[in-house]
């Protein structure tokens, strides 16, 4: 800790993380940090269960309509899916690095890593829209009653698209929520709020971002790769 504070000339105004005081109902800052992490892990459990519903529906309809689902995944370009997977994996790495940078008081790299993560998030959404949602919807590959693709091989293809849009759509919503959290963290890190004594929000937002990545890691093979 002392090496970190050595950056400062004596008498300089301390950064905000240095004067961080835990909230009064906690005995120690360590307790507060542990609690925040436990809380976020519990919340991630709920997210896993939420997506569990989608995966369960996927499994059941795949069993009910195997041809429609095999055919459905052939509409998706696995290369686009792979690029998006790589984009998200990079973002997961940079968000993990941003936590490390906060712990080591590397303020520049904390912000830089957060910005790279956010660029990846934006890239993911742009790729998803321009290469998948927009062309597919314009061809009539839409869910349920909106389905109007004239060359469908199978009468149950609307269900496939229903699962596809529900799964990737709710995932995309989580990309937005995660990016929103990270933007908030970025804004606050410009104010010097995060550092070795206070990086709780960086860590918990990072955990949330990892979940966004994790869900995609499951969606990608289920939707794109299984034929």
């Amino acid at each position: 800790m002392s090496t970190i504070n050595a950056h400062h000339t004596p008498g300089a105004k301390p950064m905000r993380w240095e004067t961080y005081k835990h909230e009064h109902h906690w005995r120690t800052a360590a307790d507060e940090f542990d609690a925040a992490k436990l809380g976020m892990w519990l919340f991630l459990t709920t997210e896993v269960l939420l997506f569990g519903g989608i995966f369960c529906a996927y499994a059941i309809f795949r069993m009910m309509y195997p041809e429609a689902f095999t055919n459905g995944s052939s509409y998706l370009d696995w290369r686009i899916g792979l690029i998006n997977t790589i984009v998200l994996l990079i973002s997961s790495f940079t968000v993990a690095m941003s936590v490390r940078c906060a712990q080591l008081n590397q303020q520049f790299w904390l912000k830089a890593n957060l910005i790279i993560t956010l660029i990846c998030a934006a890239l993911f959404v742009v790729i998803k829209l321009t290469f998948e949602y927009i062309p597919k919807l314009s061809q009539g590959k839409a869910p349920g009653t909106w389905f109007s693709y004239p060359y469908a091989h199978h009468p149950e293809e609307p269900i496939w698209w229903g699962i596809y849009y529900a799964g990737t759509g709710i995932h995309a919503l989580h990309v937005f929520i995660g990016a929103g959290l990270l933007i908030w963290v970025l804004v606050r890190s410009f104010k010097g709020i995060y550092g070795p004594k206070n990086y709780t929000m960086v860590e918990t937002s990072g955990l949330y971002w990892h979940l966004v990545d994790l869900v995609w890691i499951f969606l990608f093979p289920l939707l794109y790769l299984i034929h």
Partner: protein
């Protein structure tokens, strides 16, 4: 072994209810932005009681409709809207646009359907799930483990606002005409009905939003119990109410997301017709039922476990006896939570293979074991106890009686052969009302009386409380016991009309509901009177030993003037003189 003396340590800090000279608007602002778990608990209490009132009125309306075999009270409002804003028509004489309030008869029982949906949805999602955890739990969980607040106070306030938002969605849906799907929103009917209107979508959205509030409360409590217990409060030094709240919170965290995704998909289904639950598009309606009950059966234990926790407190404190089988009761709470996730299939026996039905039937019987462990331990606690027959204790005894009936009538419903005859009948209605109302609501009202002096610093009138209890207890049994007979004789649930031979039972049941409503109104009056003119409450009116009785009534802003020291367990009534009490008031048993 002595009680902790806090008298030498009086700060200036007043009670949390103290307005400190603030005006009306700054008081309102202070409450609206508070992160104090006690104030949030009280705000929740008022919100859930309001919802209980709305749901209760709907329940009384259902009973009034069923007084006659043919449709009666709802005859005037058959447009399908419960509040008639009139439809715009052209006046034939003057030619100007006027509103026409006359209604034309259409599908019989439309309003009845909306009324029982309203009753079910409001009571389940807006009242009984948050009732005990969010009000009494919020107020007392931190105090009982010696903490200053819950782990995430801002999140706690946020969850209250989410709850209010969800309830507003429900109320707007209700004003727009209400849903007619039943509180379970079964597909495909819930996809097709009222397709041109927002009201069903709003109701489903309401339940979805309320789920968030429930998750956040549960998450907050789990972390609080793990991380904020005062030094010396080990897991087995916690009052059993905390164990029950802990088990409840685990279920809330693990089950609610599944209803979240289910209801979200249902909203997509209504807005975009994506087809997942719609058989006409290749979807699967039974899948919806599985998803729905995967949440909604565990949530039954979210409703009852907090009630069980309250009963453990009431019986021990008002019986002045150490709780019998502390660990058995604590672990049976967790046991119920664990088993709760494995029994959802018994809601759709007829939609499964015989093998799956048998497995779910067998698993359902397992619930009886931890539940019976609790009941036997409670009865053993009462053995040779010095029972004070005040309102909280009467409610606890009432709970034992009613909940046992509710639990035991669950067994014929879990048995495949008898369930074939009884399912979807009034037997089911009576069964779950005995568990939900005879269990949870009775425990909630008992707990409210028990902790009322601590929450508001005022005593309630004991005589009025006992009379109201008698009305509630008699009214409840008259209302719902008759429904067991109706069910076994074949009266199906959710019908507005019935054959004449059932009328006598329906009439008795409706008369009972009036007595029940009167009892609740008497309680309400008693509470209001207590707030306005009740005598000031001492810090420990019942001689309790858990930590909330160490602090004053109502507690100061940070609950304790200094971190509490734990010198005795919450149930050591045989050996400890309660804090703030003299031995004359609460004599220790003679040592033999």
């Amino acid at each position: 072994m002595t009680a902790i003396d806090t008298s030498h340590d009086h700060h200036d800090e007043g009670s949390f209810l103290d307005r400190k000279g603030m005006g009306l608007w700054s008081t309102i602002w202070d409450w609206a932005t508070t992160v104090d778990h006690k104030k949030i608990g009280i705000m929740y209490l008022f919100a859930v009681l309001t919802m209980f009132f709305i749901g209760g009125v709907a329940g009384l309306a259902i009973r009034a409709e069923l007084l006659e075999p043919m449709r009666t009270s709802a005859d005037g409002a058959t447009t399908g809207v419960m509040i008639n804003f009139g439809s715009p028509v052209q006046d034939p004489d003057t030619g100007e646009m006027i509103r026409d309030y006359t209604v034309t008869p259409n599908a019989a029982g439309n309003t009845f359907n909306r009324m029982f949906t309203l009753h079910g949805a409001v009571m389940v999602f807006m009242f009984i799930v948050p009732a005990v955890p969010a009000s009494l739990g919020n107020f007392f969980l931190p105090i009982m483990i010696g903490a200053k607040d819950v782990a995430f106070p801002k999140l706690n306030l946020f969850s209250w606002y989410i709850y209010v938002t969800g309830s507003l969605f429900g109320v707007i849906g209700l004003i727009l005409g209400g849903a007619d799907t039943g509180w379970t929103f079964y597909t495909p009917y819930s996809i097709q009905t009222d397709a041109d209107f927002w009201r069903v979508t709003l109701m489903v959205m309401a339940a979805f939003i309320l789920g968030f509030s429930s998750i956040l409360t549960g998450l907050n409590f789990v972390v609080t119990v793990h991380k904020l217990r005062a030094p010396g409060v080990g897991w087995f030094d916690m009052p059993l109410f905390i164990w029950a709240m802990y088990a409840t919170s685990i279920i809330q965290v693990l089950a609610t997301p599944v209803i979240g995704i289910t209801l979200l998909l249902l909203v997509f289904e209504r807005l975009f017709r994506i087809g997942i639950f719609d058989p006409s598009l290749g979807g699967d309606a039974v899948l919806y039922q599985h998803f729905f009950w995967f949440y909604s059966h565990p949530v039954v234990y979210v409703m009852i476990l907090p009630g069980m926790g309250i009963i453990s407190e009431l019986l021990a404190v008002h019986g002045r006896k150490h709780i019998f089988g502390y660990r058995a009761i604590a672990f049976s709470s967790l046991g119920i939570a664990a088993v709760s996730f494995l029994v959802w299939g018994h809601h759709l026996f007829t939609a499964m293979s015989p093998l799956a039905s048998m497995v779910f039937s067998a698993l359902t019987f397992l619930v009886a074991i931890p539940t019976a462990i609790k009941v036997f331990n409670w009865i053993a606690t009462l053995y040779k106890a010095s029972i004070a027959l005040n309102t909280p204790m009467l409610y606890a005894l009432g709970f034992l009686f009613l909940f046992s009936i509710g639990g035991l009538t669950g067994l014929p419903l879990a048995t495949l052969a008898t369930d074939l005859h009884l399912h979807d009948s009034y037997f089911v209605v009576a069964h779950f009302h005995y568990v939900m109302m005879g269990g949870t609501v009775i425990a909630f009202i008992g707990g409210l009386h028990h902790w009322w002096p601590k929450m508001f610093g005022r005593m309630y009138n004991e005589r009025v409380g006992i009379i109201a209890f008698a009305l509630v207890f008699i009214g409840f049994n008259v209302t719902f016991f008759t429904q067991f007979f109706l069910g076994t004789q074949g009266m199906p649930r959710r019908y507005a009309s019935y054959v004449d031979e059932f009328q006598i039972y329906h009439q008795i049941s409706t008369y009972g509901s009036w007595v029940l409503g009167l009892g609740f109104m008497l309680h309400l009056g008693n509470f209001i009177h207590s707030l306005l003119a009740g005598p000031k409450a001492p810090p420990n009116p019942w001689g309790g030993l858990s930590l909330e009785w160490e602090t004053e009534s109502p507690p100061c802003a940070h609950n304790f003037h200094h971190e509490p020291l734990i010198k005795h367990g919450p149930y050591d009534f045989e050996t400890v003189v309660p804090p703030h009490c003299s031995e004359q008031d609460f004599p220790l048993p003679k040592q033999h």
